[in-house]
């Protein structure tokens, strides 16, 4: 049960529309006006310090964890140093856009247009990227949906897991600053390297002192509020808040409450410094448990109080809203900042890692139902049954959380990327499904590549079906392909070309990040950066892992190639010429051919006819991408993940031979095409597990729909647990479940073609909902409503 306080905060979070604050952008801009001519690291660190010094301090009603990025409780900020063009273009429609709207008043808009944006004209990362990316690559990668890396030149990188274990909770930011000062004092001043390092250490000192200054201003405010507070209970709370903010993040935390406040200050620092995507709290249960246990033992805290505090952090994490363009919002829908928090798994020593805080985290997500943090669990084959039980129970609540990961495969993925075994065992998730580790610099979501485009160009003489423009390599007409292998070769040729542009675009962006947007605050949270004197953007971390290129549309392409093989070359019921004519017509007038394409084998049904094609494509993709090296000389990595990127990537894709119509969504991760895995979730799992998931160190993702009724009981949840463990035993990395409500069943009635995979329990067995008669569907909807919570 949520406490009244948490319930009130939650209600506000659910109901409030996020507001944009320009305070941070204004301070940042004014600071830069004062520091012209200084090294960029210093300018950015000074701007960060100035934010900490000048931002309005806000303690909202009932809060136990404090600190805000602006004047609004549910708030997004602007980072014009990365990009402002799109804000200028789009902000007049912020409050009416369909995906992720924001409130921004006319006065606010006039203000930023007059006082903030003009300074950044020609100075932003976005403009620099557009100026430098080769025209040939720009044609493919800039707002096309073919190859997309705009989050790496319109936004900060993020994708960092601050190191609480060895840096922050061990030393505090006060300790970090002291260490940087000592390092600075030991540097010479007659070699270029030392001069660079000196700039770095100065930037770290400014950043660390900045966040401490920010916390102290909160302590002052809390003391002021306490003095004026009539309610004695709240007065005590405010005093405790003041005490917390006086101690952390300057020093190591002394209590569970302080440790939570520390985590939020670290997030705040990250947000104010760069508004990052995927700033991960990491292995929360591991670094929080000692504080929890000490407090419990000392009688300072009970479980209910601890739960309330964790709930408060969850709401804080959710009240910050990522400010993104409509285009980016298509790819990352749902105000999602991807602050990934991981619990469970094994310790560095290889023992089961679950503890009391693991369960507090699961419960917090169940009860607050916030979209943040992105809660991930690591499940190993010998994990405690109560842990697996808690995980599947949370699945049954229909929040879509947690993301469930295979402990062993995450370890393997990091080993492949060159990690030492103990570090690899200590992995956490980054963003959505990328196995990560706290001492790492990595672009975990560098580029999305549209596999479907490569096939489209192979079959359409290098041209886009929708625009007719030559986007790929020139290609002969598809009717000239005499064998299936020739079709495949053409596909791989086009595919290699898209991979090449992905690499070029990433390298240009990587170099620009080094030049323009060093990251003093987040570098201060990474041990090896402090030791080596190098910023994260300069490869200062212990592990620098090559950027991750995410493949979108594996299922669509595997299905399409299977359809071509089946219809054109095996059964000879059509020709490539006819099939391509059908695609150009978006299947209009080819309904019969489309039907035979739709019934051709589909990935996700444990059918080797098509699954072997998926394996071949995925393996080829790995080899192709892995041969390239990034700015630090590290091999690029592959992933099959997905946020909502399969939707915009489908939009630019014409009809595909699998029977899909032009503009329809593509497929995500290693998931089957929506509605085409019409056997059982077990068959979908078997197909997905075949794809050699562990070689794709950037992570793999499988989303499945599950009828709520299947997991409504303890027994159902136990079966789900067994299903997950089996999937993992087969070698898979991740699975996440959407449980299905009666509302979804109604949608399935209206659009059966999109819900062919939807499985419902009928009577002692489960079957495809869309295959039932209308009256039976109605009966099941009635029953599902009955069982809903």
């Amino acid at each position: 049960m949520l406490t009244e306080r948490v319930e009130a905060i939650r209600r506000n979070y659910v109901e409030a529309k996020p507001c944009i604050s320009y305070q941070r952008a204004l301070i940042w801009t004014q600071s830069h006006q004062r520091t012209e001519g200084q090294p960029i690291a210093i300018r950015r660190a000074q701007a960060f310090y100035d934010c900490c010094d000048l931002l309005p301090v806000n303690i909202f009603e009932g809060e136990l964890i404090v600190g805000a990025i602006g004047e609004f409780r549910k708030c997004g900020i602007l980072t014009p140093e990365y990009s402002w063009l799109w804000v200028d273009r789009e902000m007049d429609h912020f409050d009416t856009r369909p995906q992720d709207p924001y409130v921004m008043t006319a006065e606010q808009r006039a203000f930023v247009r007059e006082h903030i944006f003009p300074y950044w004209k020609g100075q932003s990362l976005e403009e620099a990227f557009l100026a430098r990316v080769p025209a040939e690559t720009a044609k493919i990668v800039v707002d096309t949906g073919i190859v997309d890396n705009d989050s790496k030149w319109r936004q900060a990188v993020g994708e960092v897991t601050p190191d609480y274990q060895d840096v922050l909770f061990a030393k505090g930011f006060g300790g970090v600053a002291a260490e940087a000062r000592a390092k600075l004092a030991a540097l010479g001043d007659t070699d270029a390297d030392s001069l660079d390092k000196a700039d770095f250490y100065r930037s770290v000192i400014l950043a660390a002192e900045g966040i401490v200054r920010f916390a102290n201003r909160y302590a002052d405010e809390a003391e002021k509020l306490a003095a004026a507070e009539a309610d004695p209970v709240r007065r005590e709370e405010l005093r405790a808040i003041a005490q917390n903010c006086r101690n952390v993040p300057a020093n190591p935390p002394k209590t569970f409450h302080e440790a939570l406040q520390f985590v939020w200050f670290t997030q705040l620092g990250g947000i104010l410094s760069e508004n990052p995507l995927a700033l991960n709290p990491g292995r929360f249960d591991q670094y929080m448990a000692p504080y929890y246990e000490a407090d419990i033992q000392a009688g300072r805290l009970n479980e209910a109080q601890a739960q309330e505090l964790v709930d408060c952090l969850w709401l804080k994490l959710s009240e910050w809203v990522w400010t993104i363009s409509a285009n980016t919002a298509d790819y990352f829908a749902g105000y999602n900042q991807f602050q990934n928090l991981t619990v469970g798994g094994k310790t560095r020593e290889g023992l089961d890692a679950t503890n009391a805080v693991t369960y507090l985290a699961l419960k917090a997500t169940e009860e607050t139902r916030t979209h943040q943090p992105g809660l991930s669990v690591r499940v190993h084959q010998d994990c405690p049954p109560e842990f697996l039980g808690a995980v599947t129970e949370l699945v049954s609540k229909g929040t879509g959380f947690p993301a469930i990961h295979n402990d062993a495969v995450g370890y393997q993925m990091l080993l492949n990327a060159g990690y030492e075994p103990q570090d690899a065992k200590d992995w956490n998730n980054c963003g959505c499904v990328v196995p990560h580790f706290r001492k790492t610099g990595e672009w975990t979501a560098a580029v999305n590549v549209n596999f479907g485009s490569a096939l489209e160009y192979a079959l359409n003489e290098g041209r886009s079906l929708l625009t007719g423009e030559l986007m790929g390599l020139p290609e002969r007409a598809a009717s000239n392909f005499a064998t299936f292998d020739e079709v495949k070769e053409a596909f791989f040729r086009q595919f290699a070309n898209l991979c090449r542009h992905s690499i070029t675009a990433t390298l240009v962006a990587q170099k620009l990040h080094q030049e323009l947007v060093p990251r003093p605050f987040l570098s201060a949270t990474i041990e090896e950066c402090l030791a080596s004197g190098r910023d994260l953007s300069q490869g200062g971390a212990k592990y620098n892992v090559g950027p991750v290129i995410t493949g979108i549309g594996l299922a669509v392409v595997a299905n399409s190639l299977a359809a071509i093989r089946k219809l054109v070359f095996d059964d000879r019921t059509t020709t490539l010429a006819e099939l391509c004519a059908a695609l150009r017509a978006d299947w209009d007038g080819f309904e019969e051919l489309r039907q035979s394409a739709l019934v051709a084998p589909k990935y996700g049904n444990d059918d080797d006819y098509v699954d072997t094609l998926a394996i071949e494509i995925a393996n080829w993709y790995y080899r192709e991408i892995h041969q390239y090296r990034d700015v630090f000389g590290n091999p690029f990595n592959t992933a099959f993940m997905g946020i909502s990127n399969y939707i915009p990537m489908g939009r630019v894709l014409g009809a595909t031979p699998c029977g899909r119509r032009g503009g329809d969504p593509s497929s995500e991760g290693v998931s089957p095409y929506v509605g085409s895995d019409c056997s059982t979730p077990l068959a979908a799992m078997r197909s997905a597990a075949k794809v050699n998931q562990e070689i794709h160190s950037g992570g793999t993702l499988l989303n499945l729909r599950l009828n709520h009724e299947l997991v409504a009981t303890k027994r159902g949840q136990a079966n789900l647990g067994a299903m997950i463990q089996t999937f993992f035993a087969l070698g898979a990395f991740h699975v996440q479940f959407n449980t299905i409500s009666s509302q979804v069943l109604r949608q399935a009635q209206a659009h059966p073609e999109q819900y062919r995979d939807l499985l419902v329990r009928v009577a002692g067995y489960s079957t495809q909902f869309v295959n039932l008669s209308r009256s039976m569907q109605d009966a099941i909807i009635a029953r599902t409503e009955h069982a809903e919570f």
Binding site: D606, S679, T680, P681, L682, A683, R686, L710, A712, T713, R715, G716, A718, N719, A722, M723, Q725, T726, A729, L730, L759, R761, V762, A763, G764, Y765, S766, T767, L772, S773, S775, M776, A779
Partner: protein, 251 residues
Amino acid sequence: MPSSDPSSGWVMNIQNFSVNDGDGIRTTIFLAGCAMRCPWCANPEGGSLRNPMTKLMSVDEVVSQVLRQLPFLRVSGGGVTFSGGEPTFQTGFLRALAGPLYDAGVGLAIETCGTFSYLDVADVLAKMDQIFMDFKHPDPAAHLRWTGRPLDLVLENLRHVRESGADYVVRIPVIAGVNADSETITRMLDILADACPSAKLEFLPYHKLGFAKYEALGKPTPAGFETPADADLAEYQKMAVQRGLEPISYR
């Protein structure tokens, strides 16, 4: 007539991922054919071997399809459930399927209406981890009238199963219009308390989810049968407990 060649048989459906229907994740093999003729039957395509909704499959086909599911069945502690129709109706085919699955370490269960010659199927039943056996009506005349088969045989087979030491569950399909009144249920429970004291018992409320199949087969849908009220079912559960029986539910 039951198929004489046991290397293939008539299958209504193979349902992977059956849950809430026995232990763990299960694959249910629905075998066609049934000696009874219950007018409320939810699986009318099981009434004959050959019809538009059944297909002839070889033992190899069925077994290899099931074995693809083996990892899931193993980890969940599930297995295969033979259902129908009446799975013993094609005794030879049932035996031919049960053998290799049993040898592969797959847990087996069977759902039967209780109408079979015990001697003919005793060896197959011995391979089952669990036997679900229907009991439809307490009155011999009414039983014969509703199902077309005698009550005696069902009760005799129930006794055999109990004596064999197998893990079994008696299932009462509760149907308003047939047996869903407290007098009839009382009689049924009394018979059970006497014939198989402290047996596990599952009440299965009648549902109309099989109507679509009647439509598909071009047959008129059953009339005159209704789902019992939840309150009545709760009452029957209580009555069963009072008689020392053990009501269970796989939910």
